[in-house]
Subunit: 145 residues, 2 copies
């Protein structure tokens, strides 16, 4: 352990460790998953946000992707061409396009979500008690945010 780590606040060191987990473990995993399912990262992120039952406006997907709305047009065009997503009118505002998954889109998203949900080695290898403690602390953190 470095001197810097010892003098950091516990939250800072925890965050640094989380970033290691995300950059070194999750990022390669995510990229591999994308190519396995033949979707690009923003396409996968879009599928994760959408649903069949509760359509969301294009602007919401732009917010979710943290990108300009003009980019969503092309991303959705390609997902729509593959039959995974559909554009629906918004009865209340004719400017708005509502986005929703098709049945095929739901199937693909479910499979992707299932794969993303599998805990990586470093977490799965933890003693059960530590897994529970980790879960409880993260629940506390996320529920507040």
């Amino acid at each position: 352990m470095s001197t810097a780590a010892r003098t950091q606040s516990p939250a800072a060191e925890a965050w640094s460790l989380l970033q290691t987990l995300m950059f070194d473990v999750q990022r390669p995993r995510f990229i591999t998953l994308c190519s396995e399912f033949d979707v690009t990262p923003p396409q996968l992120m879009t599928l994760r946000r959408l649903d069949a039952d509760t359509p969301v406006p294009t602007s919401e997907v732009a917010r979710w992707l943290t990108c300009d709305a003009s980019n969503v047009t092309g991303i959705v065009d390609r997902l729509e061409a593959r039959g995974l997503v559909e554009r629906r009118p918004d009865p209340g505002d004719r400017r708005v396009k509502m986005l929703a998954l098709t049945d095929e889109g739901v199937a693909l998203r479910d499979e992707i979500v299932r794969r993303l949900a599998m805990p990586p080695e470093p977490l799965a290898a933890l003693p059960r008690a530590d897994q529970r403690a980790l879960r409880d602390i993260l629940r506390l953190a996320v529920d507040r945010g």
Copy 2:
């Protein structure tokens, strides 16, 4: 809490919460940081990997980015044009280009790393005892991997 969450293993639920933290909190933060420092995400990732003292071959950066080596050429071209990175010969193998940060590159990387290291609200707001417990568990997980 969902029924699914209750029936998952603790590691699976912890991982799901971590992903929430990463997608909802870290990703927008990362993208904002990139535009603030006028670098693209792969450029920022490259700066994070490099150093002034211990040059690494181009191939190592490709591994780090999880992308083909041909892409690194352009990414490094642009960082080099800004005076942040330099290519050095490898005395042992004249095919290899070693990559290292310039002084300016070190300064920028340090500032970026400092900003990335700031724990986000959900973590910073945790009680001190939970921060320490989180840190200890993550140390255990990461040290094994």
